[in-house]
Amino acid sequence: MRRAPLARKAALVAAELAVAAFVLVPFFWMVSVSLKPPDEPFAIPARLWPQDPTFENYIAAFRPEFRTYFLNSLVVSLTSVAITVGLALVAAYAFSRTKLLIVSGLLALVVLAQMFPHAAIIIPIYKMMRAGDLLNTYASLIIAYVSVTLPVAIWMLRGFLKGLPQSLEEAASIDGAGPFRVFREIVVPLARPGIIATAVYVLIVTWQEFLFALSFTSTRDMRTLPVGMNDFIGQYGIRYGELMASSVLISIPVVAVFYVLQRYFVAGITAGAVKG
């Protein structure tokens, strides 16, 4: 392979750094503000980095409510992940292995379903939740999250499953395995990277979701972390330091999960992108 000329390489690196900086500035600002004492965010001229970094805001952010919100977020997110991935896996398998015309029609419907903006469907879903007496429960959020993440999850897993060689499933059925056994013992283990990628996607979406959580919960003990951040936005002022400290705390689990599993995530998104 021919090596790129040095100048070109330097320009490329500079461009990459610029993009990275552009993307990271808000995060840097978030961390910076979270470390500033209460009066400093408004100091003029503004400082990029606090003069005396303090963990005051973090201590304040770790209120007793934080524990409740965190647990609520955890329950809602993990349950949504489990249900979405489970349903998506079965649906994606059917979509990837059936050639019937009606199936491609259904697949188009799935794609269509994820095109509605959340703001457009939130009121109908709210009404349904009220009719089902589910408002202010975990179930209301889990049902909403599953329904908004399922289409993309199906699409991701379908792409992944299509990439698996079908001869493995054929070999297993000749070896004596029935369809469910083939699915359980051959397809699911081989689809693991795709399953992980899909799970990470659902986790990221549900962990940070605000609109549904705000609309469907009414009492403090049912709030999730993103809604809980509202506490810092009062009628008479916004406590930026504590808000940003909470933001940092909320981001940590998702960043950690993504960091550990990023290779699966990239693989899952691109699988099936080049063929079929």
């Binding site: 054929e170 070999a171 004596g176």
Partner: protein, 352 residues
Amino acid sequence: MATVTLNKLGKRFGALVALEALDLAIEDGEFLVLLGPSGCGKTTTMRMIAGLEEPTSGDILIDGTRVNGIHARDRDLAMVFQNYALYPHMTVGENIGYPLKVRGVDRAERLRKVEAAAAQVELSGLLLRRPAELSGGQRQRVALARAIVRTPRLFLMDEPLSNLDAKLRTVMRAELKHLQQSLGTTTIYVTHDQVEAMTLADRIVVLHEARIQQVGTPHEVYTRPANTFVAGFIGSPPMNLLAGEIRDGAFRHAAGTVPLAAAPRGEVVLGARPEDLALAAPADAHLTGTVFSSELLGDSTLVNVAIGDGLVAVKVGPDEGQRVGAAIGVRVAPAKTHLFAAEGGRRLETQP
């Protein structure tokens, strides 16, 4: 052990005819090779016998019982795939033992059988490895071991050697033949490689364009090809085919004549294998041309002679190489020629 009977078996994919009403009876313990170029319907035939594909017409009978619509797992057979289809998330031992595990064989029994099967294909030290850690030849052996670990009624093999390099292929071919003979299990083997077909088969079924061209022992198919397709497909290099006319007891071609007694009259295709031809001075040869190429193969030399607008391959001794461009003649042994109808290419019988 099983017999397999195919009655008017056919398969269409939409407008495409993959297989046209195939009739075939496979005997118990037979090693049957389905041979043909890609797209001839051989793999489709095997997949229908396996239960991976449903026929669109006709019946499949295993041991006299119709198996159409019966799931692959209930047909009691084993298959070796072209890409081996090993389960990448299982060890070699688990791969080989999978058919037993699925059928509920208990652990101790399973271990014993896996070890026996592995020993039979010389894999014993590798049972704990994963398929990804094996060479192509070893993966091939795992696939074989998985097929023989149970005693199925039928082995199906879909081009099992085509992903191996030439040297390994020769070794595995011999092992496969030995294994099948010692087990005595009815085997159906798909290949496009006529050398594999010749060396392995009890009987060869030559398929082309969704139809059977010929069914016979390797000897029959080689010495009495049923038509020009089979003649041109079997043999390496294949049979020379020359279009010409028979008149006055001789085959007449632009490049010469070959005397043929008791031959039919009219337009024909004359076939002669490279080893049944000889080189001669142009003056006392049947056909004349110029040397196009001369290739030393080690035990023999293959001389291609440009005759008319085609090439005729002649197999001669290792030190009978020719200078390219030289004028040369080809002698034909009349008793070792084959005649085919000019129209349709069907074999014309000359000898009683």
